[in-house]
């Protein structure tokens, strides 16, 4: 039997389908699009991929993604940012989400994951020792635990809390509750119960 498509094409389809959210059909469509597109377009993509690998690093301070020439990253190097305030998140994308609020003027620490014994992720697999070191050396006054409100996110927050016990600092957790523009009637009971428990003075 002859192969339906030449090997290099098959290889690219496979490479695409390994990406999250892309199934075999989309992978084929992308591949055949690039096959027909002007050569420059394909090469541009390849170049961008290589440059992304070549020119990015993890910031040695906060472990967010940064460009190769900029370590510490722009956020860590910014003197306007309050060094006393440290926000701990799971992933680099979470930094983006909090930055979009425009409300936060402190610094970040990216853990690169959460504790999940089932997936074999323990404390040594996260940037935790680095976090403890920063808290001690950078004069941090408040640590905001902004891990996701999932079981694993809570486990990680609780673990960090235990590790930081006895340090002279304020430890806070993001509030949970109703989304703005939401409707009480459609909120699930758990969210509503949390919003009720975490209600605030007007």
């Amino acid at each position: 039997m002859y192969p339906a498509v030449p090997d290099p094409v098959e290889r690219l389809i496979e490479a695409f389908s390994r990406l999250p959210g892309i199934g075999p059909k989309t992978a084929s469509r992308l591949t055949f699009y690039l096959l027909r597109a002007p050569e420059a377009e394909g090469l541009e993509l390849a170049e961008a991929l290589q440059a992304m690998r070549r020119d990015t690093r993890l910031c040695s301070t906060c472990f967010n993604i940064t460009s190769a020439g900029a370590d510490p990253c722009a956020l860590c190097a910014d003197p306007q940012r309050e060094a006393q305030l440290l926000c701990v998140v799971e992933e680099p994308l979470d930094v983006l989400a909090i930055e979009r609020t425009g409300q936060y003027r402190g610094r970040y620490h990216v853990l690169h994951g959460v504790l999940s014994p089932m997936e074999g992720v323990g404390p040594e697999d996260l940037k935790l020792t680095e976090l403890l070191k920063r808290v001690e050396s950078e004069g941090v006054e408040e640590v905001i635990l902004a891990t996701n409100p999932t079981l694993e996110g809570e486990a990680t927050a609780m673990y960090i809390k235990r590790q930081l016990e006895g340090q002279p600092l304020r430890l806070t957790r993001l509030a949970r509750g109703l989304p703005s523009g939401g409707d009480l009637e459609y909120a699930d009971a758990n969210t509503l119960a949390q919003a009720l428990a975490g209600r605030s003075e007007m």
Partner: protein, 403 residues
């Protein structure tokens, strides 16, 4: 409450069904394998989307539909509850089907057209299903009896269903961590969070189970007494794996004969007790690589005149005990929600003498709606047949029969 209309697509042997259901008693008559039991299962499925006897949801999808490109089944009902109509719909969609017919079943729940969680079904529709094949639960493994109690609680209390599903996740993570500690050693300080969660959710479950079982026993005992003409006294004995009343150094388990009142236990007492017990068994748990304490190891036993039916019961005794439990569950749900759940009784009169049949039928007629199946219409007295709507079920279709 009442199921006013049922609509099925590709559910077991029903490719399509549209049927109104009257209040009061409906008798489904038909030979075996015509779909009587499946119809009861379909109605019961609307109350919690739980497959009967731990079978997979995939088996609920009609086998012919499985050959289609996107196999699905749909169960929809119109429910009258406090004089208001609610639409409940469950869609089962088989995804990523392989050549061997494997795949994952995606469940979608819609209540009045809005997507909802599975555990919210119980707040709209309640039903109690008696199946003769459930008899094996009485003598089966503890897990099957836990399922019986958990299913009753999940329908009555969405917060219980939520706690139970969180508990299962915590347990899986904690067991994985214990296995890691067993293999590679290391400091058990990462267990701290999972211990807290296990104790927190575990005490919630134990507390709810103890209370529910106590209430169910109060309701089941008189029913059972009547069903056995006063010959037997039924007890539902809770056997928690973590026993808060037990001397920490004492023997495991309580003698069954001793009636224990768990209801006075406070959740906080249970919680701190579980934490202390986890502390004590730490090394043992790491050595075994599994969580040894908690409601996932609970049992409940059915006792008739102090005899454990798991070991000593006859088939008839097990049947009566299960029936009393199910009828008690109906009354219990009614006491909690203010409305009778729909009663679904499969071949319920078999193995009962004429006098007990009449007793039982009089009792189930108290409910707002009851659907019964029978291979033989003559099991039912003339007066009962005259009060009931009698339907014939044949090859996956249902039609009224002159009764």
């Amino acid at each position: 409450m009442q199921l006013a209309h049922l609509s099925l697509a590709n559910f077991r042997n029903f490719t399509r069904l549209e049927s109104d259901f009257p209040a009061g008693a409906t008798l489904l008559v038909g030979a075996n394998a015509q779909g009587k039991t499946s119809l009861l299962e379909a109605i019961h499925y609307l109350a919690g989307a739980a497959s009967p006897h731990a079978s997979s949801d995939r088996q609920l999808i009609n086998f012919l539909a499985l050959n289609e490109s996107r196999p699905f089944a749909r169960i929809a009902g119109e429910v009258r509850r406090r004089d208001r109509l609610h639409r409940v719909e469950i869609r089962l969609i088989l995804e990523n089907q392989t050549a061997e017919g494997e795949g994952r079943v995606k469940k979608e729940v819609l209540i009045n057209g809005l997507k909802r969680r599975v555990r919210e079904l119980g707040s709209t529709f309640n039903a109690v299903l008696f199946l003769p094949q459930d008899l094996r639960v009485i003598e089966g493994s503890p897990g099957e009896r836990r399922r019986l109690l958990d299913a009753a609680l999940a329908q009555a209390d969405p917060t219980y269903a939520e706690a139970a599903s969180s508990y299962a996740k915590v347990l899986a993570q904690r067991n994985a961590l214990l296995r890691q500690l067993q293999d590679r050693g290391g400091a058990p300080d990462t267990l701290f969070f999972w211990d807290e969660q296990l104790a927190d959710l575990g005490s919630t479950l134990i507390h709810a189970r103890a209370l529910a079982l106590h209430e169910l026993e109060q309701l089941a005992a008189p029913i059972h007494h009547a069903l056995t003409r006063g010959a037997e006294q039924l007890r539902l004995a809770y056997q928690p794996a973590y026993n808060p009343l037990q001397d920490p150094n004492g023997q495991m388990g309580l003698p069954l004969q001793e009636a224990v009142d768990w209801t006075s236990l406070r959740r906080e007492t249970l919680r701190s007790g579980i934490l202390a017990a986890l502390e004590r068994t730490r090394q043992h748990e790491i050595a075994r690589g599994a969580t040894l304490i908690g409601p996932h190891r609970d049992d409940l036993r059915f006792l008739a005149n102090s005899l454990d039916l798991r070991q000593y019961g006859s088939r008839g005794q097990a049947r009566t005990a299960l029936l009393a439990f199910k009828l008690a569950q109906a009354e219990w749900l009614r006491a909690r929600s203010g409305e009778w759940p729909v009663l679904l009784l499969d071949e319920v009169l078999a193995e009962l003498d004429a006098e007990r049949r009449d007793d039982l039928l009089a009792r189930v007629l108290q409910a707002q709606q009851v659907v019964l199946t029978a291979a033989d219409l003559n099991m039912f007295s003339r007066t009962f047949r005259e009060q009931a709507s009698v339907w014939r079920i044949h090859g996956g279709t249902v039609e009224p029969m002159d009764g």
